[in-house]
């Protein structure tokens, strides 16, 4: 037997092993489904369904992969790679979980402080090494003594740091946990999937399965995408679908949910408009008060229309949210546009001002809201204090008697929402300014020069060049600000006490769904609210897209 034929025989053997592995994998997946429906009584129905579908899909793909491998088709290799890669990642996460790695992160958080001084030594070591740059003339060898000292100080400091944060204990504990049966299963899984991946990536196997360079590129592309894709599927798409399922149940997040169909959506959308005999006629006289509550009434002379809903809080929240959006979007976009034009000038100190205006965007919302809470305080807040001072000054100056309004910013239903609008607009404006600035800097200077030659003034240039050229940026800014504003929550939750505000004047959709889901144990209903909010946001964004397309500025 020649060397080449030995290699071929070895390759054929590995390919056959892969075929067997694919069948075995499919059987294991099918066995998991069987076990789930026969022994796992504690697992809830939806979990069984999701896991079964996943296992059945894995089994199906595995069989398909095996068949394709037998045909020496590259699709079989690709399918195997995907399945084994996912299996490897799953086993890796499982091993970390069995070893209580994620709890260990909390433990590290607790002991991290103890190790900080030693981490300081490591940083000191780095600076020692950096000092070498200041003595270039004294460099005698490729590695100066300063470099060597720096390296050893860094290594020593880091070892001491690890010792202080109980890393050794952690490793021993981790290995101890992995030595248990579940941990060993995870390790065996890691080894099998790892070996499979390694062998599939060997050149002779790739060639045997007719893999071309293009196929390799596709695989590499997906491999690079995979961390984000897996994270997206697990932490975004998964919960999204789950919340969609919950919206059709009476889930309280604790007990097994019951399927209620469209009941949650029906309650949200159950509204009624009734003509009133007189403007002050009570709601109970015209609607079934056991079902409906009055949301509001529109009066015309001696009559009116009553707006009642089965869930009045949802409709109040929707009203407040839309009002909020209606004010916040222009208040945070138009000033940002003006400001960005000012900050785009070449005057000295502009970088400083750009940083200043951007600062509210990066500050923590909780901190900002608490500061504003003090500013807004009607009795000892600075805003009212300065208003009082201003009015006193005005009255003394002109000998008039303007009455101090003593605005109750957060405790009066007429001003409460406006107070939140001010904070949100102030906070968002800086970020929008930066986006506009980036847009402005992309406008070719030649356009302005040509306009100047044509005799255009500053306003003409702004109206005729800046605004149209900024259209894509403006569209992006308006869209993202609208979406962000529709989800207003933190400012209301921190600033208002209670968050709903006087007469529910600051209840918003996200606040209401949070209250329903996390405070009233109504996760199913909260999920339905979330999906209605999603539809509203989606609808608004769609309208913006259509308007933008119609104006055709974006495309051009």
């Amino acid at each position: 037997m020649t060397a080449q034929s030995r290699v071929d025989a070895q390759t054929n053997l590995i390919v056959r092993v892969h075929m067997i592995w694919r069948i075995l994998f499919a059987l294991l997946a099918a066995g998991t489904v069987y076990m789930m429906w026969t022994t796992a009584a504690e697992t809830s129905l939806w979990q069984k369904i999701v896991l079964s579908l996943t296992a059945v899909a894995a089994a199906g793909f595995s069989v398909y992969g095996g068949v394709q491998i037998s045909k020496r088709n590259h699709v079989g290799r690709m399918t195997s790679l995907v399945l084994d890669y996912l299996g490897f990642v799953a086993c890796f996460v499982f091993a970390l979980n069995v070893g209580e790695f994620f709890i260990g992160i909390d433990a590290l958080g607790q002991t991290f402080g103890k190790g900080l001084p030693y981490l300081g030594i490591t940083i000191l070591g780095y600076f020692l090494g950096a000092l070498e740059e200041y003595f270039p003339g004294k460099k005698k060898s490729p590695e100066s003594s300063l470099k060597v000292v720096s390296r050893w100080v860094m290594i020593g400091g880091f070892i001491l740091f690890l010792w202080q944060v109980d890393a050794v204990k952690g490793v021993i504990y981790f290995l101890g946990k992995l030595a248990q049966p579940t941990g060993l299963i995870a390790i065996v899984g890691l080894v099998i999937f790892g070996l499979s991946l390694w062998s599939l990536n060997r050149t002779n196997i790739s060639l045997a399965l007719n893999t071309k360079t293009g196929h390799e590129q596709i695989i590499n592309g997906w491999l690079f995408l995979s961390p984000n894709l897996i994270g997206f599927l697990i932490f975004f798409a998964g919960p999204l679908l789950l919340s969609f399922y919950f919206s059709f149940t009476d889930s309280d997040a604790i007990r097994t949910p019951n399927w209620v169909g469209f009941e949650n959506y029906a309650k949200i959308l159950n509204i009624k408009f009734v003509t009133l005999d007189s403007p002050d006629q009570l709601a109970r006289d015209v609607v079934d008060i056991k079902i409906y509550d009055e949301v509001g009434r529109f009066t015309f002379g001696n009559t009116g229309i009553l707006f009642a809903a089965a869930d009045k809080f949802f409709w109040l929240a929707l009203r407040n949210t839309l009002t909020f959006v209606l004010f916040v979007v222009p208040l945070s976009v138009i000033p940002a546009l003006v400001l960005s034009n000012i900050l785009n000038s070449k005057l000295p100190g502009m970088k400083f001002y750009r940083a200043v205006y951007f600062m509210p965007s990066i500050a923590a919302v909780v901190g900002i809201s608490l500061v504003w809470q003090w500013l807004y305080n009607a009795t000892i807040g600075y805003i009212n204090y300065f208003i009082t001072l201003g009015i006193e000054f005005w009255n003394n100056l002109f000998n008039v008697a303007v009455v101090d309004p003593k605005i109750q910013w957060v405790s009066d239903e007429k001003t409460a929402l406006f107070a939140i609008i001010i904070i949100a607009a102030w906070q968002t404006m800086g970020f929008n300014t930066v986006l506009f600035l980036a847009g402005l800097q992309n406008i070719p200077g030649e356009l302005y020069e040509a306009a100047t030659v044509d005799g255009a003034g500053a306003w003409d240039k702004f109206w005729g060049i800046t605004l149209p050229m900024l259209a894509p940026t403006t569209f992006y800014v308006v869209s993202t600000t609208t979406i962000q504003a529709m989800q207003v929550f933190e400012q209301v939750f921190i600033l208002m006490n209670p968050p709903e505000g006087p007469n529910n004047s600051t209840i918003t959709l996200v606040l209401y769904l949070y209250r329903s889901g996390f405070q009233n144990f109504q996760q199913g209903y909260a999920s339905a609210i979330a999906w209605v909010l999603f539809i509203v946001i989606f609808g608004l964004t769609l309208i913006q897209f259509q308007r933008q397309r119609r104006s055709s500025i974006y495309e051009s």
Binding site: G99, E100, F101, I103, G104, I105, D106, A107, L108, Q110, T111, F158, L162, V165, D166, A167, K169, G170, V171, Y173, F174, D252, A253, I254, L282, A283, R284, I289, K290, D293, E294, F313, V366, L370, Q373, W374, N377, T379, I380, K406, Q408, V410, S411, D412, E413, I494, N497, P498, E500, G501, P502, N503, N504, I507, R515, F518, Q519, N520, F521, Q523
Partner: protein, 464 residues
């Protein structure tokens, strides 16, 4: 090339080291617990035995809501001491709640995720909701098997609710239900800025109370007199939640619920009368800090003469730089101040793996000795009806007039015990009631309009 390789290797070492460091063991987590006895100078023998036994001990996590760092320190100290006292139990105390994460919301999320502590504190209003959903353990069997345990050792109001059996409607010893034990009790008093009251030439509320003349009328007089000191000085201030406005309804003979707590009673004549008087403080007489504004900064700044709050506000008020004291709430038309008996309870997680040990911990957390340590901080009143504990409470000054708090919870003051809603949902009821009352107190809704519609809405919070 070499440099690049070195940088890569160093980078890998750093990442690997952090990963390995993150493989922290519970031993690392529990390190403070084993060190703590030494800090509190516990006997060396106990320390040694605790460390030796730790591997065989049952590990319990417990949580309560502290209001400040001082309380966290006290609870941590108590946890360390109980850890040494309770054989076979290792304790970990977790202070809950922060500015960004409300205590109850965080707890609910952890219960849903199955990571809640073995023993935790919940407010009295939440007991029914947690019990009926099966989130907390009914410790009746454990209590029955405990020598010397009786509900009568604690205040009657909290124990009525904590031993309420929703299936039979019975309450008290032998009812078949023990949902937990009260951590402490508290009640409202008026924190007085004595300097402002003296400056206004108003009568001293403490003297009026001692003479039996502390009524709504005299309260209003003192409020008006102090309010007249300046446009930025207020006679009265209270926070915007159900506690402060509830007392005015209670004191006029009304209340939130009917007698058996199965329906809304906010629209009764008495309730509306109480609400109307409170409304007049804000709208007609303009003596109160605007409703919905936090009055505490104003009181601490010396701009509010009478600040209604519970015992829990005392540690913060102790730092003010003017003369202050407390007085009980004024008596309303029905002759009582209508005060609340606030309470919260230590309850056992229904999913705990160690119910016996958790019950032992709940008992240990509610002994007179433990409650005395917490009361010494000044934030609350012991929940055990013990003359010794109450005598000790009177010594925890300032305020000088600690008796005002005890008067508030005395039987003759007929306080209404804060309580859960077994026949409905308290959060739902509160969600409807709070904003509606705020509407009245801020002047956007009339009392008549409120009375005409409130119970139509609020009754939906009860089981239909």
């Amino acid at each position: 090339m070499k440099k690049n390789l070195l940088v890569k290797i160093m980078g890998l070492i750093v990442i690997a080291s952090f990963v390995l460091a993150a493989c922290g063991s519970p031993a690392a987590t529990e390190a403070p617990a084993t060190e703590a006895p030494a800090m509190t100078e516990a006997p060396a023998a106990t320390e040694a035995s605790a460390t030796e036994a730790s591997s065989a001990d049952v590990a319990l996590r417990w949580r309560t809501r502290p209001d400040n760092q001082e309380e966290i320190d006290v609870y941590s100290k108590i946890s360390t001491e109980l850890d040494a006292q309770l054989d076979g139990i290792t304790l970990t105390y977790e202070p809950g709640g922060s500015e960004g994460a409300n205590y109850q919301d965080q707890l609910r999320a952890e219960i849903a995720a199955g990571t809640a502590p073995d023993v935790f504190w919940i407010p009295g209003t939440d007991v029914a909701d947690f019990a009926t959903r099966g989130l907390i353990l009914n410790a009746a069997d454990l209590a029955d098997a405990t020598e010397g345990y009786t509900a009568a050792d604690f205040y009657e109001g909290p124990m009525f609710h904590l031993t309420y059996n929703p299936e039979t409607g019975a309450s008290g010893d032998g009812s078949g239900a023990v949902w937990g034990l009260p951590r402490d009790v508290s009640t409202f008093a008026l924190y007085l800025n004595l300097d402002l009251i003296a400056e206004a030439g108003a009568a001293d509320p403490r003297e009026l109370a001692a003479n039996g003349e502390w009524t709504w009328e005299s309260f209003l007089e003192v409020s008006q007199a102090t309010r007249a000191l300046g446009s930025d000085i207020y006679g009265y201030g209270a926070s915007a939640w159900w506690g402060p406005y509830g007392v005015w309804l209670n004191a006029s003979g009304g209340g939130f619920f009917n007698e058996d707590r199965t329906a809304c009673a906010l629209n009764t004549e008495e309730s509306l009368a109480g609400l109307d008087f409170q409304r007049s403080l804000y709208q007609d007489y303009d003596v109160a800090t605007p409703y919905g504004e936090d009055p505490e900064p104003g009181f601490r700044a010396g701009k509010v003469a009478m600040f209604q709050n519970g015992r829990w506000a005392t540690p913060g008020i102790r730092t003010v730089d003017f003369n202050w004291d407390v007085v009980e709430l004024p008596a309303g038309p029905n002759g009582t101040p209508g005060n609340w008996l606030f309470w919260g309870a230590y309850v056992i997680n229904a999913n705990t793996e160690h119910p016996e040990e958790a019950w032992a911990l709940v008992q240990a957390l509610t002994t007179a000795e433990t409650q005395g340590q917490i009361s010494a901080l000044g934030a609350n009143i012991p929940s055990r009806v013990s003359p010794e504990a109450l005598d000790a409470f009177l010594t925890f000054t300032p305020p000088a007039n600690n008796q005002a708090f005890l008067n508030g919870i005395a039987p003759e003051a007929a306080p209404t015990a804060e309580g859960p809603l077994w026949a409905g949902s308290w959060p739902e009821f509160d969600k409807i009631m709070g904003p509606a009352i705020q509407g009245v107190l801020t002047g956007s809704t009339t009392v008549e309009d409120f009375g005409a519609t409130i119970c139509d809405e609020a009754n939906k919070a009860f089981n239909q």
